[in-house]
Symmetry: C2
Subunit: 436 residues, 2 copies
Amino acid sequence: MPDERTTGREGVGAAVLAAGFGERLRECGRPKPLARVAGLTLLERTVRTLRAGGLEGEIVVVVGHRGEEVAGHCKARGLPVRVVENPDYPRGNGTSVLAAMRFLPERFVVAMVDHIHTPESVRRLLRCEGDFVAAVDTRPVYADPGEATRVRLEGGRVVEFGKNLPRYDGLDAGLFLCSRPALERLREASGGERLSWNDLKRAWLASGGEVVACDLAGAPWTDVDTPQDLRLSEEMVLGWAASGNDGPVSRHINRRISRRITRRLLDTPLSPDQVSLLSFALAALGAGLLAAGRLRLGGALVQLASIVDGCDGELARARLESSPRGAVFDATLDRWADALIISGLALGAGTRLAAAAGYPALAGALLVSYTRARWEAALGRMPSRFTGLGATRDVRLAVLALGGLLGAPGAALLATGALGNAEALRRLLALKRGRS
Amino acid sequence: MPDERTTGREGVGAAVLAAGFGERLRECGRPKPLARVAGLTLLERTVRTLRAGGLEGEIVVVVGHRGEEVAGHCKARGLPVRVVENPDYPRGNGTSVLAAMRFLPERFVVAMVDHIHTPESVRRLLRCEGDFVAAVDTRPVYADPGEATRVRLEGGRVVEFGKNLPRYDGLDAGLFLCSRPALERLREASGGERLSWNDLKRAWLASGGEVVACDLAGAPWTDVDTPQDLRLSEEMVLGWAASGNDGPVSRHINRRISRRITRRLLDTPLSPDQVSLLSFALAALGAGLLAAGRLRLGGALVQLASIVDGCDGELARARLESSPRGAVFDATLDRWADALIISGLALGAGTRLAAAAGYPALAGALLVSYTRARWEAALGRMPSRFTGLGATRDVRLAVLALGGLLGAPGAALLATGALGNAEALRRLLALKRGRS
């Protein structure tokens, strides 16, 4: 049999362990790797998370229990993976790691199909050095310390793994980075009746091997064993997807609603780009109503558009479909929507004040966005201190919406102009001082 | 005597040969390295060009004739260089290279203080591999084939250097990249009466060494020997500094005038940022006049502001002071000026059409700039095909200026809006198709 060993040049690979029985999810009717969380099966989610986290080498999915169904799913969804069957899976998931190893490059990640992580956690793991690195979490938020494997740490190293350790420093997060030549030595330990991945870890420690701890320190992750876990992990994914550089209106109002909308969109065929267009359409409709003098209804639609504007990013992050191109598309539509809303309010108000105040409002709104983009194109990330009240779209649209709803378009436009131009001026002065 | 040899890790260094007599510039009264071209002495220009081209290691300036004056200039201007005296300079500039060598890292550039290059040429040279790389020019534009050293090429290698080669393939551009250990071998050839750098090059070839040719192929460069050369090279520098991603109005009209203004600014203490502010002030004044209904005068000032807007970049490039920070500062002021001009024209025209048409005009103008910045922040350089008529500021300001001058503000605003929004829409559609 050809040995498909590859060199380190081919990047870090991954073994995804998807062979187990998944007893407690049996009532769902599908094999555990095919259980759905936030619009993706657990297996799709694991593969996309690894790729989004920067893993470039081959991904080997080890199947066992109901292996044909899982393999069929990989094929049907066109997942970029190699499926390897492990007939030994009833002996424990340690046998799955050994079965995957021959197809993997020098360094590879070991991931459990029933553990949900963020791409950022994968990225953090890939930055670690060592023959055996284990992601641990010293501040677990979602994972259950009663269920998970516990770890004891000493000087940045894991010195003990175990389900029932009475004293422990954190949880084993079920994500590892291993060196293949080092692990090959453990094949000898594989003769026993049962062979779990925990057995292999302990064999590694017993042989004098070091396990470097990569502390996720509160990053969102969890493992999924029961139908209740499925629901809780969906909450976790949506919560993570709804985070961002939000302004106060978004944080306290919009996100609560957009998250509920996003949850309903997850299993629809709607793409994030289509949701961006939907938000734009709502804003354009609102602008049209404002321009026609229907200030109250127009204002309400503007706020609705602002809420739906959160959904495209949430949907993309929850489905792990975020792309720079999608972000530029959304941002461009947002600027156009801003321009339409401000023009609509200025022209529909029917007062000389509003017709004039729309100009500084439009200039301020677009300049805030422009200065950030131009800064980041030339100078890299803009420091986080440049997020005053005038800096975020949620505040801007809330002010304009209130202008319509309360029948005070001139005041709303003046406030929008003042906030936006003040923030842009602050950035210009920072450039002048060169203290960027 | 301590040998200050350094490792390759310290980056590429440079020897700047500034020891010669400079006979034909004697009438200028100052040593040749201190002759001024486009606001900088030849020596400052050489040092800044090397740094702007990405050279990171030590720069050694070798002085001889009137060496104290040249050394004093380095100190007075705070040039980041080490000055080395070469008492042997009357024997030829080859002795200056040997004198510099002990202070240089493993790889170093040899530059003549009387040759003017662009940072881009330095960058190209630094990308070349080889123990001895010579910048040559197979399509010289400014340099005089009657004066310069000629080269014969074979298969990407220089096989002969000489002032009077009857058959030649290009000119020696006076810029080299050398490996110190390789050149050390030539010290033995240094016993003769005269020792020019050309002698050392020939000794290298005679010893079987290869000279890799780095073809500048028409890039702007020249050498300066006479007072007439000083004037011609200033033209060259200004012409190079005035190039950019110009629209048609800039190319055919604005640049001709801005270049003349810039020439007068070169020897003033005005900084590029101050010129950006001056252009902004002219635009703001023009906008104020437009808003007050003085459309003709306002329009004229807008076009003047557009012309002066070219000078900040020209001044920065000619003085080799360009910085990403300065570019963002200028761009931000430009967007604000655009907003003021459009608002002024819309509100000062006194017609309902103009008051409304200002909104799409302002949205289109800022969206064109925004889409480019946002694209480049996330996706890298925007393809050059996105430079339609609606894409550049020169066209936009010319249309608005004509709107004032010809008393047709509404039409000018509608045209500005149509051009800008059409270009922004084109970019949005390209994003949607994902064919970025």
